[in-house]
């Protein structure tokens, strides 16, 4: 029953991961991950690749112990360790494929060689080592197929591959550390060290011993078989020695580099450091040094769990978590990222169990125990579920149902951006604020200065004026807009308010910009179909606008706005509503609208010979260039003392 439960959970997570991987292939990596330009590597790279490779280090560690050093005591675990390596590295390969931006180019490093790239070296090592692992594990498959001739051939050359595998592992386990030698400024000093490659390699050995211990314990527990304690106790001892060496090196390196000052500073990173070190090294060393703990499966399980969690935290820290404070990035892995990580690991776990059941992975597990573990026990033979989950393939039917349920559930749980692809965030525009200023004009130099707050004793040459402070996207960068003066200038040129207020709501004189331009970047719909429908009495009066019922109801076949709203201003600028023109009911994004309007007019002024420096440039409005706004350098400080403008209504 416990096997059934665990397998169901694995199938469930596999379903989660499957859906997210499909969506990621459909919409691109950006739609599902929470990564950003400041933190380009997250859970998938840190947890799925950098942390999973040392977990798979069990493969080369045990291969060295058993086949090179001839420590026969560990032979019962050798094949299980190779399979563990195979599963981890396959997961790494699959995870990496979906992490990179263009997944079908995962094979490019095979064709385009870059000997100076650490990542290139790692890619090749992992690729080759995956082949070595497959070769090493082929023994089990050949054995099962009883292809004895090939099996003998394979056994003859296998030591060459085992040694090749150890050498390749040495390279890429350490090179994963080399990767982060390039990030001295990103990575927190408690983690950055020239010894990173060495530390990564050593911990891969120590962790390898404990991951195979963990997997052995869990598998034997699942199938209800007695734990093979003799090799596990030995591995525990080796692990404690290796982790001890790691602890000495790590702390020694920090002390020599003069980083001891960090050890007890109250900082999130330091807490993280101690938690990591406690779980990954200190606790395992302390507990594994006692014989009674080494010989207790329960103690071993919890110690191995702590070490795996701690060491994974170490890799995740180096790959990203410990860079957050230096880069000031924010990153919380999205649900989609968790689902893919869990999904791939679960799938690997299922394949592992499949191999355990059908091949000779553990000499202690097989045949009768496997049958026994699958016994469903006391399921009611007349219950509803027995009609569907019946033999043959009772298990398969059940797991399929779990998988499908997970697929359905995850589609409901995921945010829209993951399911339908990323869309720009809505940025609703904020109305302007109004402020009273004192205006000083120096006609000779064509210089305008503003004073705030008003100083009555500045003399008569000054005049009071009301200005608008615009900050539609509320980012704290204000633009000072002197409404009155713009009106005066237009009047001088014989133009009207309609130059800017090119279209107002019905029954309104001059609707403000944001009445229609409601989003900073995206176009917004300004025609309110619902309101028109209501005012004309529901569906009854469609022909009021859609005059010819035989034509399809499109903008082109519909009455122009102006025919009903004759007071609507004939546009000078962007929006087309007049007869003979294409009718548009979309208002462009606020930014485009403002730039389209302001910049065009400002540049026309420059062409006409405006003497003001920089009048046609962005800084004319966006920056406090002295010649334009003078003493008013602190619009941000002025803003709180201004009053928000009320957006006037227009609709009846």
């Amino acid at each position: 029953m416990r096997l059934l439960t665990v397998k169901s959970i694995l199938w469930f997570f596999a379903g989660f991961g499957f859906v997210v991987i499909l969506l990621r292939m459909l919409h691109g990596v950006g739609s599902v991950v929470a990564l950003n330009d400041l933190l380009p590597w997250g859970l998938w790279k840190g947890g799925g690749v950098v942390a999973l490779v040392p977990i798979g280090g069990a493969g080369f560690t045990l291969a060295a112990f058993v086949y090179v050093f001839h420590w026969r005591r560990y032979e019962p675990l050798a094949r299980a360790a190779v399979l563990l390596g195979l599963m981890c590295y396959s997961s790494v390969a699959i995870g990496l494929t979906f992490d990179i931006g263009i997944w079908w180019r995962i094979v490019f490093p095979v064709f385009f060689w870059q000997f100076h790239s650490t990542l290139f070296e790692i890619a090749w090592c992992i690729m080759l080592y995956l082949g070595v692992l497959a070769f090493e594990f082929s023994h089990a498959i050949l054995e099962r197929l009883r292809w004895t001739t090939i099996l003998h051939l394979v056994e003859k050359v296998s030591i060459v591959f085992i040694i090749l595998g150890i050498a390749l592992s040495t390279l890429h386990q350490s090179s994963l550390g080399t990767l982060f030698l390039a990030t001295p400024y990103r990575l927190h000093p408690l983690w950055y060290s020239p010894l990173l490659p060495l530390l990564f390699f050593i911990t891969a050995i120590g962790l390898g011993c404990l991951t195979i211990t963990w997997v052995t314990l869990v598998t034997h527990w699942l199938y209800g078989v007695k734990q093979p304690l003799a090799p596990l106790t030995g591995l525990a001892r080796i692990a404690s020695i290796v982790l001890g060496a790691y602890l000495v090196l790590r702390l020694g390196d920090l002390l020599v580099a003069g980083k001891a000052g960090y050890f007890f500073t109250p900082d999130w990173n330091v807490l993280n450091f101690w938690v990591e070190l406690l779980l990954s090294a200190i606790l395992p060393i302390v507990f594994l040094s006692r014989r009674s703990y080494r010989e207790s499966p329960t103690a071993l399980f919890w110690i191995a769990t702590a070490a795996i969690v701690g060491m994974s935290l170490n890799r995740v820290n180096v790959a990203g978590l410990a860079t957050l404070s230096a880069t000031q990035a924010t990153y919380i892995p999205s649900w989609a990222e968790w689902f893919v990580t869990l999904g791939i690991l679960s799938a690997a776990g299922l394949v592992y169990l499949l191999c355990v059941e059908h091949l000779r992975v553990f000499p202690t597990i097989g045949g009768a125990q496997v049958e026994g573990a699958h016994d469903l026990g006391t399921i009611d033979p007349a219950g509803w579920h027995t009609t569907f989950f019946r033999a043959p393939f009772a298990g398969a039917r059940f797991f399929s149902a779990v998988f499908v349920a997970a697929v359905g559930l995850v589609l409901v749980l995921l945010p829209d951006s993951a399911v339908f692809g990323a869309r720009p965030e809505p940025t609703p525009t904020r109305g302007p604020r109004s402020v009273e200023l004192q205006r000083l004009e120096d006609a000779s130099a064509d210089l305008v200065q503003y004073v705030f707050p008003i100083e009555p004793d500045r003399g008569l040459e000054t005049q009071r004026t009301r200005a608008l402070l615009l900050d539609a996207d509320a980012n704290g960068r204000y633009v000072l807009f002197e409404h009155e003066r713009h009106g005066d200038r237009l009047e001088e040129q014989g133009r009207t308010c309609a130059a800017c207020h090119h279209q107002s709501l019905p029954f309104a004189q001059a609707s403000s910009c944001r009445t229609c331009h409601r989003d900073m970047y995206q176009p917004t719909q300004i025609f309110d179909h619902g309101a028109h429908e209501r005012s004309y009495g529901g569906n009854a009066d469609c022909p009021t606008c859609h005059t010819d019922p035989t034509l399809p109801k499109t903008k082109a076949t519909t009455v122009q706005c102006k025919e009903c709203h004759p007071a609507m201003v004939e546009t000078e600028t962007l929006v087309r509503t007049g007869a003979g023109q294409e009718q548009s009911t979309l208002a462009s994004g606020y930014k485009d609208a403002m730039h389209g309007l302001c910049v065009t007019c400002h540049q026309r002024e420059v062409e006409r010979g405006s003497k003001r420096p920089g009048f046609g440039e962005c800084s004319a409005c966006h920056r406090d260039v002295p010649t334009i706004t003078g003493t008013l350098q602190r619009l941000r400080e002025v803003a709180p003392r201004s009053t928000p403008m009320q957006s006037e209504g227009g609709r009846p």
Binding site: L38, I166, A167, A182
Partner: protein, 273 residues
């Protein structure tokens, strides 16, 4: 004009923050429209839609405007990092990007000491986005980069790096009270092709501890990476040797056991320490 390690010199004291360079860059490189994406902290910063941007700095002498763009390092970390060679240091001095090769591993973004490469997360086929020093425009059309051409105040100039360095030092010497006596980009991480002079202490990166040493980033990794072939051979030799010695000893033991007096069984292999 010969194309030989071209560079850009930004004189921060001359920049008025007009952002003509930003719009010229956007127009010439046909960058996408700016949008408020979930992953952007500030749409005004460098992003897939902005290869260069102006950042406002408050200094003791008032407001200053610092242009940000790819520094085109002399020994670029991104080029060293790139797994497929999509990023290259061209002979002209520009660090160029080949979108046809990029697999999207984003190691360049991790490795860059200036946090310059950005990613078009919004695209289904996302690519790295960064300033190319208008490489094609400079080499094929013989023009200066779009941003330099657009600058109305001469705050950013284009030329050979050695000449621009000389020019920078000339300006520093001519007005010592105006400038901080330092050319940013002359030595940092081995030197960059985008140089800055300013009247306040510039911070060209956003890290908690600023980039200040002259070691090129590639040296940090290659110092280790270059030993990898010998590590590979060495590890194989040590493992092969160990295997051979122990194997031989056990075989001899076994032979001795079978020919000589009855010993304990030979499979026990007592070589475990």
């Amino acid at each position: 004009m010969t194309i030989n390690h071209m560079a850009i010199l930004n004189d921060v004291t001359k920049c008025t923050g007009c952002e003509q360079c930003v719009s010229a860059c956007r127009d010439y490189n046909a960058l996408p429209k700016e949008q408020n994406w979930r992953w952007l902290k500030d749409p005004h910063e460098l992003s897939s839609a902005r290869w260069t941007t102006i950042r406002e700095e408050k200094t003791a002498r008032g407001r200053r405007f610092v242009r940000r763009q790819c520094r085109h390092c002399l020994e670029p970390a991104c080029v060293e990092a790139c797994i497929v060679g999509a990023l290259k240091k061209s002979p002209s001095g520009a660090v160029t990007y080949d979108p046809e090769l990029c697999i999207g591993c984003r190691y360049c973004m991790v490795a860059c000491p200036w946090e310059i490469p950005k990613y078009s997360w919004e695209d289904r086929i996302p690519l790295i986005q960064k300033c190319s020093l208008c490489h094609d425009r400079v080499t094929a059309e013989g023009k200066v980069p779009a941003c330099v051409e657009a600058c109305p105040h001469g705050a950013t100039v284009f030329g050979e790096r050695t000449e621009l360095l000389a020019e920078a030092h000339r300006r520093l010497a001519a007005e010592p009270e105006r400038y901080v006596q330092k050319v940013w980009g002359e030595h940092e991480v081995g030197g960059t092709s985008v140089l800055y002079i300013a009247d306040f202490d510039l911070a060209l990166d956003d890290f908690a501890t600023h980039v200040d040493d002259t070691t090129p980033v590639p040296n940090r990794t290659f110092r280790v990476l270059r030993h990898m072939p010998s590590v590979f051979v060495g590890m194989s030799a040590v493992m092969g040797g160990t295997y051979w010695i122990i194997e031989r000893r056990q075989r001899l033991q076994k032979e001795g056991a079978s020919t000589g007096a009855k010993d304990e069984d030979g499979t026990g292999g007592g070589s475990e320490a």
